[in-house]
């Protein structure tokens, strides 16, 4: 049964909603949630390329996020350059890191690959925490007051919102193109069965590596956006395991391996996180772990395909019921 709204109409409505959100909700709190939602959606969409489509569940993507977050502030800290100048450098370093990590770890499969990514990310976090050049455990700060517009230090959330939205659009469009291409078909085939994919001539390791490189570059951009906006980064907020776990949970909650799954996941998780932080304040520290753990258990038990798959199953029933009524 077909939906009333064609995919094109749905995309236009979604774009309109995202564009109009900060205008309709002009309060600082609402806009702050909007920016957090976009950042979570960008990170999870980036993770989705390798974790969702190719089924290579990396739980160490914080290494790329951290590199992307540190490089802009390092450029400012060392040479006084506008942080934005460090974004391409972060992308390049993440790309090289993806190659260095992917070559050995893609010999591993399933849980072993996931564990290897956690180990590498944790090693990098510990290393950065003791490296004086990057501020060791204290971290780095960006410009407190913008010297010019290119420092991207705005008082209002509004410019950040639209910059983040533009980046999200680029990530989603790239994912859309990947999904339709030979590369995208190969990723899905690898996820379904590497041995069978190989027998059809799919270059499994090279395809996984390409996916990791693309994913790493976008994750790095997400990290850069985060540090440029907050003007601060330390080992925990850049390379901490929660950063990786959040990407995995947002994508899995919405629907890993689907274009809009990470958006749905971010839409559900970010307000929930904000609400728990607001209700429990400082007394709720550690609650994030409980929230994430609870979501993992519920997803694994009831809906491994995420909300996207749940909706695809439920929507036709609802349509039939409404037609019958």
């Amino acid at each position: 049964m077909k939906s009333i709204l064609s995919p094109r109409v749905r995309i236009v409505l979604l774009a309109a909603a995202l564009l109009l959100f900060p205008i309709l909700f002009s309060g600082a709190f609402a806009r702050d949630i909007g920016v957090a939602f976009l950042l979570a959606a960008i990170s999870a969409s980036a993770w989705n390329i390798v974790g969702g489509y190719a089924g290579q569940v990396s739980v160490g993507h914080s290494m790329f996020f951290g590199v992307g977050a540190y490089t802009p502030l390092l450029f400012y800290h060392l040479w006084g350059l506008p942080p934005v100048a460090g974004v391409p450098a972060g992308m390049l370093v993440s790309l090289c890191l993806a190659v260095a990590i992917g070559m050995p770890t893609f010999r591993l499969q399933g849980h072993y690959f996931s564990m290897a990514t956690i180990a590498v990310a944790e090693l990098i976090r510990i290393f950065v925490g003791t490296w004086d050049l990057v501020g060791a455990a204290i971290g780095l700060q960006g410009p407190a007051v913008g010297r010019a517009w290119w420092d991207l230090t705005f008082r209002s959330e509004l410019p950040y919102y639209y910059i983040f939205l533009a980046v999200l659009a680029v990530v989603l469009y790239t994912t859309f193109e990947v999904e339709r291409s030979r590369f995208g078909y190969y990723l899905r085939a690898i996820k379904a069965g590497e041995r069978a994919a190989r027998s059809l001539g799919v270059p499994v390791r090279a395809t996984k590596l390409k996916a990791l490189m693309l994913s790493a570059v976008f994750t790095s951009v997400a990290g850069s956006l985060y540090s440029i906006k907050t003007g601060f980064i330390d080992p925990e907020s850049g390379f901490g395991i929660l950063v990786s776990v959040q990407m995995v949970i947002v994508a899995a909650l919405g629907g890993a391996g689907t274009l809009f799954g990470p958006l749905i996941g971010a839409l559900l998780l970010v307000p929930l996180q904000t609400a728990t932080n607001t209700w429990f304040g400082g007394g709720g520290s550690g609650l994030t772990y409980i929230l994430y753990g609870g979501i993992i258990v519920l997803l694994a038990r009831y809906e491994p395909g995420g909300m996207h798959e749940w909706w695809q199953r439920v929507a036709p029933r609802l349509m039939r019921r409404s037609h019958a009524a």
């Binding site: 899905r188 085939a189 379904a192 041995r195 190989r198 027998s199 059809l200």
Partner: protein, 244 residues
């Protein structure tokens, strides 16, 4: 010879699964590979398709040594294979499964889709082309595997019990499909337990037992071969036949 496997042996620790097996397949032939369970035919098959590297011996495809080539390289060279337990991409549709195969020769989506559509039509899967592979039954999945391999444009197809578990009518349809594939000029090596399939399709048969090739010849010669009868039915059967 299109495919030539010479003196293939494969050891797993101290256990020798295949012992000095030879196979020569001419272009356009249909060869049957049979043997009781555990005879070593699957290991030999895996050596031919690049899934396993033999301990000794070599495999030549069209004169090129592919013994140590990867499974991807085998596919690129024109060697296609199916799996004993169908390994279809469950969450992808039938057409998408076939497109993965078609992408080997066509880099653009449109061309791959066109090839895939032609092949799902030929293999009788056109009506299910929009369904997810997981919704198909075993016969449909086996057919889909054959379609997927066909889409890679192979010169040689190795079918690993692709016709097992089918009802008599499904079996006849499957035999007709294999004949159509052969008419396209594709050489076939069929591993099969069902003698009807071997007797109907194969031009030559190799019989495996305990890692050795114990017989080799035309299907009619093979079914009358004493060593084959003994391997399948045991020595007791031979004694019973000899005792009046």
């Amino acid at each position: 010879m299109l495919l030539s496997a010479q003196n293939i042996s494969k050891a797993f620790g101290s256990f020798l699964a295949v012992r000095g097996a030879d196979l020569a397949v001419a272009e356009g032939e249909i060869i049957g590979l049979i043997g009781p369970n555990g005879a070593g035919k699957s290991t030999f098959f895996n050596c031919l398709v690049g899934d396993t590297v033999p301990t000794t011996g070599r495999v030549l495809f069209d004169g090129i040594d592919v013994t140590r080539s990867s499974a991807e390289a085998h596919a690129r060279a024109g060697i296609g294979r199916t799996f004993q337990v169908p390994a279809t991409f469950e969450d992808m549709t039938v057409l998408e499964n076939v497109m993965v195969g078609a992408f080997l020769r066509h880099h653009h989506r449109g061309a791959a889709r066109e090839t895939a559509l032609r092949i799902v039509e030929m293999t009788g899967l056109a009506r299910q082309s929009g369904q997810r592979a997981r919704s198909l039954g075993t016969p449909g999945r086996k057919r889909l595997e054959i379609a997927r391999v066909l889409a890679t444009g192979p010169r040689l197809m190795l079918l690993d019990e692709a016709l097992a578990g089918l009802t008599p009518s499904e079996l006849q349809q499957a035999i007709a499909l294999v004949r159509r594939i052969h008419e396209l000029g594709i050489t076939l090596v069929i591993v099969e337990h069902i003698m009807e399939v071997i007797m109907t399709l194969a031009e030559r048969v190799l019989v495996f037992n305990q890692g050795h090739v114990i017989a080799h010849g035309k299907p009619r010669e093979i079914v009358a071969n004493e060593a084959v009868i003994e391997a399948y039915l045991g020595r007791g059967h031979r004694r019973r036949r000899e005792t009046p």
